[in-house]
Each structure stands twice: as structure tokens, then as C-alpha cells.
């Protein structure tokens, strides 16, 4: 059956009814635990055919052959790796025998069970190869279409879809599995997946498994406005629950069937059932959908890009988009060095910073002499897919780099760029079409940079004409209007703006500018860039490649969005600038406090930055150091402890105050006649042998020091012998021991027993996650549940 026939015609006329669950049906009919389901199906052909036939009888127009797990990795677990091709081929034939020629047989592809790099050990190309092996069997068996389903990893889904497309142009349906929070377990949402998969060539996209039909309605509703292909819904018979140790799917067939029309009204074009559904569920569904007119996709193309965990719709009257420009080694020595050394920490940091600063996409350029650009771009794409949700623009003059990026990128990429140069058009347009990427159209030709807007318009039209032959529409590219330096050509900015205006008003395309080129070679570059940005916004600019860390540019952008009526209700502008103004009243309020109160407030607020200057002010106001410590700081830190115990403060506030106190004491020490620090008593503290957890012990040590105790911290994983030796040497007033594990807690007793045997009569205080008051009592130690209590316990022990 050709791709243009059969199902392609069918979905335009009616809602296609898909089959229901196979796995749970096989179990009902005797599939034992621990056997290979695919092989069992072949060994029990009658049962397998009965299931397929029952779905046909129920009204299914497509049945999925039992090939879900018939990939080399899953079959290998049952010793059948070498039979992948024949198992797939034979299972398709079995399904065909069961349903005859009028029902469509789908070759079913499920996940490999392994994760693809960077999430797991499987190389992308190895996954593509494995899927191809399976697909050859499915096609040779005579399947009418391919279904890729129950996917949670967009990269694995891409591998399967590419494998199909590289073998045969056959109708391919692709479904991912979304949890109740609207994401796959790897964090992909339905719209991101839709944008990625439909642009990569999926003929239908949707969701299956995980949720019941009610939740799936939401996913279909989310996808429909952006879909260029029919949508699929294959929900479970409700959400499985445990009852007396058994897993139950309890949505009855009539209830399930009643959701059919709702799913169709939401825009689903192909509907069936997944886990827990039966022929009865499909019968009810078919009944409900009979005669229902399908809602076709609302558009033929879409200007949108995606990453594995996010997307950006580049349509409508939206505020200016910012493509973060910083991941580019030009002029950045540290980044150049990092790329040469194969490191990624600066790139990771640049990505997260730009995302936080308001970038909508990230432009990535790894053009650095001395590195393998192809290997580097693949590795950076892998890294960034885990670090940021922003879609990427891959920026390279090398075709090989763009090709590698297109294959590796787990979303719909924006290529920067495709120019009118003969080789670039000939090689990059087919690549962009194969991977469904968007591209930046750069109006350059072989050996010439068109200087005027008129010349640029001609080149733009010419590239667009070539792109159309590959199926691209104006939704699929963004025109770079070419920014040249005004330092070398005073009219350069004007020609760019004319090109931009023409694209907006006449050519009706999206536009992009690499802003900072305009000011190259000029002083005060930021002001030229900012002014140029404002002018470009007025001319209808869609996207700017810029540094989102530039306050001037980002503020101009926000103001420009308001003045061009792209910031709806001026909301974003108000939100942004209201935040800034809110800082002022707090700063003003502190000015009315006395020097003492300011020091106290700084301790209470954990103001480590200003505590020393505030103490200097207090000293200058003739408040003595000892008064500051005894009458101001100690009461403040005691109050902090109280607030912590009442849960009004939480741990970071307690720590911040303790650090401010420590800094203050350190500064005041030379001013005190006799050091306040250390004169209240000596505390020896350690985490016992075998235990490496020391955060709690460190907190206790810091708080005790702030209260004037001399704390000798031996560290973590300290042997009994070393603790006893230190105790003999230091003669502390209290020994504090910490442990987090039940296995190491017993070492506390060993320390205490040894101390007793050696004649050490020092009081012990113990604490830690597993330590309880009763355990402490049983070994003769005092107990403190946290740092604040430890201070109180130590005070009591020393007074005793």
C-alpha cells in the first residue's frame, strides 16, 4: 500500500479506530511471567490471531502486530538477538492472517529498554541500526504502516523515526507516553514532542498509555493548535491501582467508549486503547465514533522550534525574541581554552545564565581552530539538552557541523544559516528538509555581500524559491537582514532596516539580526546597539541575536515591546520594573535604625556583606566592643536561635546569621581586652569512625563558636583512639560526637567506654540523624537534636 493511499485517505474522512491492549490480553490468555512475549506469540499463533481477530470484530481498523519488544536489545535478554528480522516478519504475517486484507496491520515499535546518550549507554546510531533491523522485518512481513509507541525519550523516538524514514517512505504514527504532570519521564511535553516529530516526518503524532482518557484529552487539546498532522489518542482503561497486591485497570468499557467523542472533539483523529482495554472497550469506542466527522489539522506548516524539554512558537504579534549569543568562542579566551581542552563548565554556565537572563533560544557556535567541530557540537548538544530547556540555534559555516548537529539535536533546530551560496543551498536545504529544521535565510551569494536592500531582496526571493522545492514555506525560516558595521559604511544600518521593513510588510517573513555587528569598530558600542535595536523593533524585527546579560539591551527590548504593542497589557514591562523599585523601601528603612540596632538587624538578617562596616559605624559611635558583643550580638543570635526553634527561621537563615556573627566576632577580637571567644569553655567535637557525614557536626561547631566556646573540631571518620588522644591533650569541658548511620552510632559508645576506662571524666553530648534521646541516655551521654539545642545542652553541662 502506498503512503498516499489507505490510511492517508481514511483519516481525512473519518475517525480511525485503533485496536486495544495486547500485552494485558496475552496475559489473560496464558502468557507466563518471564518469557519473551514476541516468541510466545509465535509459538501460540492461535491465541495471537484470536486477539487480533477480536479487535477486528470489535471495529478496529488498524491492529498492531505483537512486535512491540521485538528489537535486538530486548530479544537478547531471552537469547533471541539473532532472530530479530524473522520474528518481526513472522508476527506481521500472523496479524495479517488474523485480520485479512481489509484491516490495516501496523508494525509496532516500542522502546529498546535502554537510554540513548547522554541519558544512557546506547549510542544514537546504534539505536538507529537496531530499529532498522526491526523495521526491515516489519516491512518484509507486509505491514501497512509503522507505529512507534510508548516512548518516553524523544531522542530514542527520533532514532526510530529516522530509521523508518531512511528505509521506506511508509505512513508512520508516533506516540509518546505522558505522565499525569503532562511530561514524559524524561521531561518532554506533548507540544515539544509534536513540533519535533511532525517536522521530522511523522505522519501522525499523539500519546498512548500512562493515563486514562480524561487526562489524555488535555494532551490532545494542547497539541491540536500546533499540529500539521493527524493526532492519535490511545489511553489506558483508567489509571492502574493496586488492590490486594493485584494491579487493576477498572474503567468499564461503556465509560471508556464515552470518551471517544470527547477525544475526537478535542482533535484526535485516530483513537484506540492501551493497557487494560479489551475488545469490549474498542467495540464501545467504535460505536461512539461511528459517523463522527474528524477535525483535520488546522495548519499545513508552523514556525516553531523545540528542544527535548521546551518549545517556542514563532508566530503572532509576540514580544521580540532574544537568541543568547554568548556560546561563541570569538574573542573569548577562556571559552577557546575550554573548547581546546574538551571541557564544558563555561558553556554550562553560559547556558544557564542566559536562560535566567531571559533568552528564548541559545545560539551555539563552536568554531575554534584546533578542535574537531563535529565531535564538539555533538557533545555540546548532549550537554545542553540536560542543562537547558531552551531550543538551540546551531551556528556554523561548516556544512559537516550543521549536518552532525541536525542528526544529534533532540528537537527542531534552527540552522544558522543557509545562504544563497551554491554549495550551501545544494547541500543544506536537503539536510534541513530531511530533519525538518527551521533555518536562518542569509541573503549572501557566492563571493558577494549585497550592499543594498534591493539586492538583498532579490537574493532572499531566490533562496526562498529554491527552498520551496523542498517543501519549505515562509513559516520555516527567518530572514537575516544582514547587519554591517556603520564604522565602514555609514549607510549600512539604513539598508538593513529597509530590508527588515520589506520582509515585514511585503515579503511577510520572520526576521533576525545579529545586533552587535552594527557597532563594530566604534566606541560606546552598547549605545549604538541599543539605538539600532529600538529602530529594528519599530521595523518589525522578530528576533535578535544578543547578549541577554546586557541590562541596557534587555531594558530597551522591554520598552520597545511596549511601544510596538507587543507586550500585551504592558504586563512584562511592569513586572520587570516593579521588582526593581521594590528594593528601595527596605534600603531606606534601615537608615532610621541606631548603630546598635543596625548591628542587631544585620545578625538577625544574616547580613554577612555589611556586618563589618556596621560594626565600624557602631565603634565610631563610641559603643565599645564588649558592649556590642554582650548586649547586641549575643542577644541577637539567641533570638535567631529562638526563631529557628519556632520554625519562623529555617536552616539557611540560622546559618547566615551564624556566619554574620562569626565575621563580626572575628573583626572585633582585636578590640576586646580579653577575647570573648573561647572563654566560656572548650568543646572537642568529631564525627565518629566509619561515618563520613559531617554537615550537622559543622553546624554545631559554628554555633558553639558564636556563643563564645573554643571548639576543637577533629573532623569526620575519626577513630576512637584519636578522639581519646585529643581529649587527653586538650582536656575539654565537653566532648561532642556525631553519627548519621545506625552502624556507626555504636562507635559513640565505644568512645565513651574507652574514655571511662582511661579515666576521662568529661561530659559527652551526642547527636545525628539516627541518634535518639533514649540511646544517648542508655550510654550515659547528653543528647542534642540540632545545633541550637546543642548550645543549650553545652551550657547546662558546663554549669553542672
Amino acid at each position: 500500500m502506498s503512503k498516499s493511499g489507505g490510511i492517508q485517505r481514511l483519516w481525512r474522512k473519518e475517525i480511525i479506530v485503533l485496536d486495544g491492549a495486547t500485552g494485558t490480553e496475552l496475559q489473560k490468555k496464558g502468557l507466563p511471567a518471564g518469557v519473551c512475549p514476541e516468541l510466545w506469540c509465535l509459538e501460540n499463533p492461535q491465541i495471537t490471531k484470536e486477539i487480533h481477530a477480536s479487535y477486528k470484530l470489535a471495529g478496529a481498523q488498524v491492529v498492531y502486530a505483537c512486535t512491540f519488544g521485538a528489537n535486538r536489545f530486548k530479544l537478547e535478554q531471552y537469547g533471541n538477538k539473532g532472530n530479530t528480522y524473522s520474528i518481526n516478519r513472522d508476527l506481521i504475517r500472523l496479524a495479517r492472517q488474523a485480520v485479512g486484507p481489509k484491516v490495516l496491520v501496523a508494525g509496532d515499535i516500542g522502546p529498546t529498554g535502554l537510554f540513548i546518550e547522554p541519558f544512557g549507554p546506547l549510542a544514537f546510531e546504534e539505536a538507529v541500526d537496531a530499529f532498522k533491523e526491526q523495521i526491515h522485518g516489519l516491512i518484509d512481513g507486509g505491514c501497512d504502516l509503522i507505529v512507534i509507541e510508548t516512548m518516553i525519550d524523544i531522542q530514542e523516538t527520533r532514532a526510530a523515526l529516522l530509521a523508518v524514514k531512511e528505509i521506506k517512505d511508509i505512513f508512520t504514527m508516533v506516540c509518546m507516553t505522558y505522565e499525569n504532570d503532562g511530561h514524559t519521564l524524561n521531561g518532554t511535553d506533548p507540544v515539544s514532542a509534536l513540533i519535533t516529530l511532525q517536522s521530522l516526518g511523522a505522519d501522525a503524532v499523539g500519546c498512548n498509555c500512562s493515563t486514562g482518557p480524561e487526562k489524555m484529552l488535555e494532551f490532545i487539546e494542547l497539541m491540536k493548535p500546533y499540529a500539521t498532522v493527524p493526532l492519535i489518542a490511545k489511553p489506558n482503561a483508567g489509571v492502574p491501582r493496586l488492590e490486594n497486591g493485584k494491579t487493576i485497570f477498572d474503567m468499564e468499557a461503556p465509560v471508556f467508549g464515552s470518551f471517544g467523542r470527547e477525544l475526537a472533539e478535542a482533535g484526535a483523529n485516530m483513537i484506540g486503547g492501551c493497557c487494560g482495554t479489551t475488545p469490549a472497550h474498542i467495540r464501545e469506542l467504535a460505536k461512539a465514533l461511528a459517523g463522527f466527522s474528524p477535525k483535520p489539522p488546522v495548519r499545513k506548516s508552523i514556525g516553531a522550534v523545540s528542544s527535548s524539554r521546551g518549545y517556542l512558537i514563532l508566530e503572532g504579534n509576540n514580544p521580540l525574541y532574544i537568541a543568547g549569543e554568548r556560546i561563541n568562542p570569538t574573542g573569548k579566551k577562556a571559552l577557546q581554552q575550554e573548547l581546546l581542552e574538551g571541557k564544558t563548565s563555561i558553556i554550562r554556565q553560559m547556558a544557564t545564565e542566559q536562560e535566567k537572563q531571559g533568552a528564548h533560544l541559545l545560539d551555539v557556535n563552536v568554531g575554534q581552530p584546533g578542535i574537531d567541530e563535529v565531535m564538539t557540537i555533538k557533545s555540546i548538544i548532549g550537554l545542553l539538552s540536560t542543562v537547558t530547556k531552551l531550543p538551540l540555534i546551531v551556528d556554523s559555516s561548516k556544512i559537516e557541523t550543521i549536518a552532525a548537529a541536525l542528526r544529534a539535536y533532540p528537537g527542531r533546530m534552527l540552522i544558522n544559516s543557509i545562504s544563497g551560496e551554491t554549495e550551501k543551498m545544494a547541500r543544506l536545504l536537503p539536510l534541513a528538509a530531511k530533519y525538518g529544521a527551521m533555518f536562518i535565510l542569509l541573503p549572501l551569494t557566492d563571493g558577494e555581500i549585497p550592499q543594498t536592500a534591493v539586492k538583498r531582496q532579490a537574493v532572499i526571493k531566490n533562496i526562498y524559491s529554491s527552498a520551496r522545492k523542498f517543501g519549505f514555506t515562509k513559516n520555516d525560516f527567518i530572514v537575516d537582514c544582514l547587519v554591517m558595521a556603520v564604522a565602514s559604511d555609514p549607510g549600512a544600518a539604513q539598508e538593513t532596516l529597509k530590508t527588515l521593513k520589506w520582509c515585514t510588510e511585503n515579503f511577510h517573513s520572520k526576521t533576525i539580526l545579529g545586533l552587535s555587528n552594527v557597532s563594530f569598530g566604534m566606541p560606546g558600542r552598547i549605545w549604538l546597539n541599543a539605538a539600532f535595536l529600538a529602530m529594528a523593533q519599530l521595523s518589525g524585527l522578530t528576533m535578535a541575536i544578543a547578549n541577554p546579560g546586557s541590562t541596557e539591551l534587555m531594558n530597551i527590548k522591554k520598552a520597545g515591546d511596549v511601544l510596538t504593542a507587543k507586550d500585551k497589557g504592558t504586563q512584562k514591562y511592569i513586572e520587570h520594573f516593579s521588582d526593581k523599585q521594590n528594593v528601595m523601601p527596605g534600603a531606606a528603612a534601615i537608615e532610621i535604625l541606631s548603630p546598635r540596632e543596625k548591628v542587631s538587624a544585620a545578625i538577625m538578617e544574616g547580613n554577612r556583606e555589611n556586618i563589618v562596616s556596621l560594626i565600624e559605624l557602631a565603634l565610631a559611635a563610641d559603643i565599645t566592643a564588649s558592649v556590642l558583643v554582650d548586649k547586641v550580638m549575643i542577644p541577637a543570635i539567641v533570638r535567631v536561635g529562638d526563631l529557628y526553634e519556632k520554625k519562623i527561621y529555617f536552616l539557611p537563615q540560622l546559618m547566615a546569621s551564624a556566619e554574620a556573627m562569626k565575621k563580626a566576632l572575628g573583626f572585633l577580637e582585636p578590640h576586646l581586652k580579653k577575647s570573648a571567644a573561647g572563654n566560656k569553655g572548650k568543646i572537642l567535637i568529631a564525627t565518629v569512625k566509619g561515618d563520613i557525614h559531617d554537615i550537622g557536626k559543622n553546624i554545631v561547631a559554628l554555633l558553639l563558636r558564636n556563643y563564645g566556646y573554643n571548639v576543637i573540631d577533629l573532623g569526620k571518620d575519626i577513630s576512637t583512639r584519636d578522639i581519646i588522644a585529643a581529649a587527653k591533650k586538650e582536656s575539654p569541658d565537653v566532648i561532642g560526637l556525631s553519627a548519621l548511620m545506625t552502624t556507626t552510632m555504636v562507635n559513640m559508645k565505644e568512645v565513651m567506654d574507652t574514655a571511662k576506662a582511661e579515666g576521662i571524666k568529661t561530659n559527652f553530648m551526642i547527636g545525628g540523624a539516627v541518634v535518639t534521646e533514649s540511646y544517648a541516655r542508655s550510654i550515659g551521654a547528653a543528647f542534642a537534636k540540632d545545633g541550637v539545642e546543642a548550645v543549650r545542652v553545652v551550657e547546662k553541662l558546663i554549669k553542672r
Binding site: A21, G23, T24, A33, G34, Q77, G113, L114, F115, F119, G120, P121, T150, I152, T177, E179, L185, G187, C209, S210, P240, L242, N244, G245, T247, F249, C275, G276, R309, R348, K356, N582, E605, G606, Y644, K646, K647, I648, Y649, F650, L651, P652, Q653, M655, A656, A658, E659, K662, G690, D691, I692, H693, I695, N698, I699, L702, M741, T742, T743, T744
Partner: protein, 206 residues
């Protein structure tokens, strides 16, 4: 027994609420200024840049569960009445392990050494919650695989060191899960290194 499944990167959204909760934040009681919240969020983000969550799972059958001992693959016996009761009725178990990696532990030590405990405690809490979230993710992943078999994991999990399930069992769990492949070692005292690493066991219900 299925082979060990290794997950080199587990992508999870940072559990901000749980980190705050672990640090003692109570929605109706704790009073936090915008500056303090911003600083805490910044520390969490810094911590996240040091964390690489990895995990591993192993699905295997229960050969015997007599109420006191659970015998799994290779005649490995877990002597624990509580675990035995927890797994009652299950024919299979899932062992799982996860780690936040060693870089975060180095960052915590660095912050502590530089007298910045307020950052260190937030780093510590973030790493703990990310590791815990990784186990949640692993369970959700396995549940998604089990659905087609009409099976489901028990909703909770059990760890060595809890109740009468001795910490010593962690040695065998560490070995079975091949945790060295995700960079996790175990000490003679059965403590996992790096510190923010965990193992757990749960049952698979038919």
C-alpha cells in the same frame, strides 16, 4: 534476572519545595525576605550545576519469602521480618540505586572549608532531594515498563539500615546493581561513597 539497567543522566526537575522543606521551611510559619529567598534559590541553582544524577535498576524474582527471610536471585538472602512483610505477595523485586555524584560533595566541602555553611547546608539538602527524586524517577520509569504486563510497583520503598533490614545488606545490593558503573563505591562500614548515594528495594505486584 534482567540485566542491570544503567541511567547515566536522569533529567529531573529540581524539587525546590522538597529542598526548602528539608531545610526546615514551613509555608505558614517561616518568614523569608525576598533577598533570603533569592539567595537560597541561587544556592540551589549552584548546587544543581554540581549535581549529575545517575541511577541503576535490577529486576529479579523472589525465590522465597517465609516471613523472616527474602531470598532473591543467586540465593541471596535478606534476613528481615519487616522487609519480608513489606514484600508479602510480590513475586518479583526491583533493586535500585542512585547518586548525585562526587562533584557536589567536593563543592559542599569547599563551601564548608571557606566558612560558607549557609551555602553548604543548601547544597547538602539539594543533593539529598535530587537523589531521592532520582529513586522516584526510577520507580516511575519501571512502572511505565510494567504497565504493559499489567504489573505495578509497590508505592513505597525499603532501604538497608531501616528497621530490622541491616545496613550490611547494602554490600550485596551495591554489588548486584553494579553501582561502581555509576561511580559509587562502598566502605567496609557499608556506607556508600559519594555520600549522596542511596539504594532501595521495592516489590513488583501482579
Amino acid at each position: 534476572m534482567s540485566p542491570v539497567n544503567i541511567f547515566d543522566t536522569i533529567a529531573i526537575d529540581p524539587p525546590y519545595k522538597k529542598v526548602y522543606h528539608r531545610l526546615g521551611f514551613q509555608k505558614k510559619t517561616t518568614e523569608l525576605t525576598a533577598k533570603q529567598r533569592k539567595e537560597t534559590d541561587l544556592f540551589i541553582e549552584e548546587a544543581l550545576s554540581f549535581i549529575t544524577v545517575k541511577g541503576c535498576t535490577l529486576r529479579t524474582v523472589i525465590n522465597e519469602n517465609d516471613g523472616s527471610n527474602v531470598v532473591i536471585t543467586g540465593d541471596l538472602t535478606f534476613a528481615s521480618r519487616k522487609l519480608s512483610r513489606f514484600l508479602d505477595g510480590c513475586r518479583e523485586v526491583l533493586l535500585m540505586g542512585a547518586t548525585a555524584g562526587s562533584a557536589i560533595m567536593e563543592a559542599i566541602a569547599d563551601k564548608t572549608g571557606n566558612d560558607n555553611l549557609s551555602a553548604a547546608v543548601v547544597y547538602d539538602a539539594t543533593a539529598s532531594e535530587m537523589t531521592d527524586a532520582a529513586l522516584d524517577w526510577l520507580m516511575a520509569y519501571v512502572n511505565s515498563q510494567l504497565r504493559r504486563e499489567g504489573k505495578k510497583l509497590l508505592p513505597r520503598r525499603f532501604s538497608a539500615g531501616y528497621a530490622d533490614f541491616q545496613l550490611e545488606n547494602q554490600k550485596n545490593i551495591h554489588h548486584l546493581l553494579e553501582m561502581s558503573k555509576i561511580g559509587v563505591a562502598i566502605s567496609s562500614g557499608f556506607i556508600l561513597r559519594p555520600e549522596k548515594s542511596v539504594t532501595a528495594i521495592t516489590g513488583i505486584c501482579d
